[in-house]
Symmetry: C2
């Protein structure tokens, strides 16, 4: 049987060099958009509508939707919440449709939306996602959201963890240096994500905003088995 | 004393997010442009004129210059040589001015040319370059040439080695996740670059062109103490 590819793309800006070759794109924004999305579905949210701009978010708000918007780690003024996973554990959101716009994550979802299948990855749903990806028998690209088009460590660790698990089955192969590097970085970090990310720029950024509780939550793997999938512009769980 | 920054930028495409903040940019293309440039100066070449396009290279050729041109790992038809370091060990090149155009390296030099100082880095001149950078007391960016705007392992290892050495002095600091990652990748690889790069895409590419001898040469550190610097569009050694 021919092996499928699993590769890691470090930033949305580099997606153009990968696109078209992968049926499945896994969008990753560990701190915090895709972790928040997984938490939302785990806590009963019905669907999440990812939007790129604040203007789109405002338009949904006017229509009466509950809307989260984050820029530079903070809730945008006038919105219901930002991208803290804890905001999405509110019982009031159960069975609701929620709109979300964030600095990096929702932009990456939008960029990837030309792919056959877009799924949401984070450390929170890592094992369930890996199991699901292995059963699909498709080429998989892990698209890291990065930070404003620059490489970040936490998304790379998550992409590396997915590549590592898929490669271990013998059914997948990798061709790109970024995938090899992501795998090494994951392997160096896996015994202690929190310690490894001490020096990460985004962890420093969130720490200065008193978001250590969020960081700990986002770096605790396998809390949920939800696999959010993009369908007609909305994220849902199947 | 305020610490200076040393950072690693993975690809020329990401340079725009770093530019302006670093007095010194070290351009790195281990396989093979910057290794070839170091070999050229070590063997007595007087200057190297880096040009981006084949058209510019042809124009110099018409004026009687010796011109090297490489695309996709191979010598471009009609040119004197490509970017194999061994081509530049020819005694006929002693004290000569040589023109060079390559897939990634000379493009990276051109992109970086807005910086105050552009120097050429490779594993071949690693220790001498590190010693020189430490004495400069300036902010340093290691710009990896990558492969057609994608991340590559060998340039990242070299950038990580420079960051590691500069940080070890206590006079430098790093803020970017890419620099942290490069340092880890260098540390994982340093006992055996050749083995570590087994799975590198570019090594595979060159191996298929029977260039293993070139690869071994380029991965053997500290063969020379030359530090090529860009001055008025020409690389020279001071």
């Amino acid at each position: 049987m021919e092996k499928k590819f699993v590769e890691v793309c470090f930033t949305p800006g580099e997606y153009e060099y990968f696109k078209g070759r992968f049926e499945i794109v896994v969008v990753i924004d560990v701190l915090r958009a895709t972790s928040a999305i997984c938490s939302a579905f785990h806590n009963g949210v019905k669907s999440v509508i990812p939007v790129e701009t604040i203007e789109e978010a405002q338009a949904y708000q006017k229509k009466g939707y509950l809307v989260g918007a984050e820029r530079n780690g903070e809730i945008v003024e006038g919105f219901d919440f930002g991208n803290s996973p804890f905001s999405y554990m509110n019982p009031k959101l159960k069975n609701k449709e929620v709109v979300l716009s964030t600095t990096n994550g929702t932009r990456a979802i939008s960029i990837a939306s030309d792919a056959q299948t877009v799924v949401i990855g984070s450390l929170l749903n890592l094992e369930a996602l890996n199991d699901w990806l292995i059963t699909q028998d498709k080429n998989v690209l892990c698209l890291c959201s990065g930070w404003k088009d620059k490489f970040n460590l936490e998304d790379t660790i998550c992409g590396g963890a997915i590549a590592d698990a898929l490669l271990a089955t013998g059914k997948f192969t990798s061709n790109e240096d970024s995938s090899v590097a992501a795998k090494y970085i994951y392997q160096s970090s896996k015994t202690n994500y929190f310690g490894f990310l001490k020096s990460s720029s985004h962890r420093r950024r969130l720490k200065s905003l008193n978001l250590n509780k969020d960081i700990k939550h986002c770096l605790t793997p396998n809390q949920t088995s939800v696999i959010p999938i993009l369908k007609n512009g909305k994220l849902v769980v199947t």
